[in-house]
C-alpha cells in the first residue's frame, strides 16, 4: 500500500452537485480496490495558468488516499474517461512524507541536545573556560554531547 495524492481539475461550468456526486463515486472506486481515502479537499474555482480544453478556470479537487499501484491505474482511467475532469496529476507521497518526518525528528533531537548541553554546561564541566560556553551550535559541541 502506498499513499498517493491526486489533484484534478473539474470543468468550471459543472454544477456543484455533479462534482460532489463524482467525488463520492471516486471514493467508492478507492474503497472497492481495497484502499482508504484519507482526505478530500475542494479548493473551489481557480484561474488556470494556461488554457486547458478552452477553459481559463477550473475547480480543483485534491484526493489523498492509500492504495495499491494497480488501483491507481483504475482511478486514473476513471478520471480520463470522465467528461467532468479536464486535467489530473497523481503524485506518490509516502516517501516524501517519510523524509519530512525524519527531518523533523532529527531537528527536534538536535534542538533537544543543544538545549540539554547548554543547560548542563555550567554544572558538570566547571573546568571549562568561560569563553567556551557562548558557542552552542558550533560543530564542536555536538561531538561532545555524543561522547558523553
Amino acid at each position: 500500500m502506498r499513499i498517493y495524492e491526486e489533484l484534478f481539475i473539474v470543468k468550471p461550468d459543472a454544477p456543484e452537485e455533479e462534482i460532489d456526486q463524482f467525488i463520492e463515486q471516486m471514493k467508492t472506486v478507492v474503497a472497492n480496490a481495497g484502499g482508504t481515502v484519507e482526505k478530500v479537499e475542494k479548493w473551489g474555482k481557480r484561474r488556470l495558468a494556461y488554457r486547458v480544453d478552452k477553459f481559463r478556470e477550473g475547480a480543483y479537487v485534491l484526493f489523498q488516499f492509500n492504495a495499491n499501484p494497480e488501483s491507481v491505474k483504475e482511478f486514473e482511467r476513471r478520471l480520463r474517461v470522465s467528461d467532468l475532469v479536464i486535467k489530473f496529476l497523481t503524485v506518490r507521497i509516502d516517501e516524501t512524507l517519510k523524509r519530512l518526518e525524519k527531518r523533523r525528528k532529527d531537528r527536534d533531537k538536535r534542538a533537544h541536545k543543544r538545549a540539554a548541553s547548554a543547560g548542563s554546561a555550567g554544572t558538570p564541566q566547571p573546568a571549562m573556560p568561560a569563553g567556551e560556553t557562548p558557542v552552542p551550535g558550533m560543530p564542536g559541541l555536538p561531538k561532545e554531547g555524543s561522547a558523553a
Binding site: A49, L62, V91, R104, R107
Partner: protein
C-alpha cells in the same frame, strides 16, 4: 577543502561567491553573499501545491530562475525544480507566461 583540491580555480567561479569585496583594476564593488532561502527559513517541504512559494522562483516569463541568481543550494534547487514542473503540469504555474 575538497572542492579546491578537486578543481583548482573553480572556487573563484562559484556562483554563490564570497561576500568579500571583489576588486578589479578599475572599480571596486561589493557582492553580497547569497543564501539559500530554504536553508535559512528551514523550509523542508517544497510542495508543488504551494504556488505562493514557487512563484518567487519563476521569472516573469515563467522560467525557473537559475540558482546562480537566486542563490538556492543544489539539493533545494533540485526539489524546487521538481515542484515547479509538477505545478506546471496541473496548470498552477505557466509553462510560458505572456507579458
Amino acid at each position: 577543502m575538497a572542492e579546491s583540491k578537486g578543481r583548482p580555480g573553480s572556487a573563484s567561479q562559484r556562483p554563490t561567491g564570497g561576500d568579500k569585496a571583489v576588486a578589479t583594476q578599475k572599480k571596486q564593488y561589493f557582492r553580497r553573499k547569497k543564501v539559500c532561502r530554504f536553508c535559512v527559513e528551514r523550509i523542508d517541504d517544497i510542495n508543488y501545491k504551494d504556488v505562493k512559494l514557487l512563484h518567487g522562483f519563476i521569472a516573469e516569463r515563467g522560467k525557473i530562475i537559475p540558482r546562480r541568481i537566486s542563490g538556492v543550494c543544489a539539493p533545494h534547487q533540485r526539489r524546487l525544480s521538481d515542484a515547479i514542473k509538477k505545478a506546471r503540469n496541473i496548470a498552477l504555474l505557466p509553462f510560458a507566461a505572456q507579458i
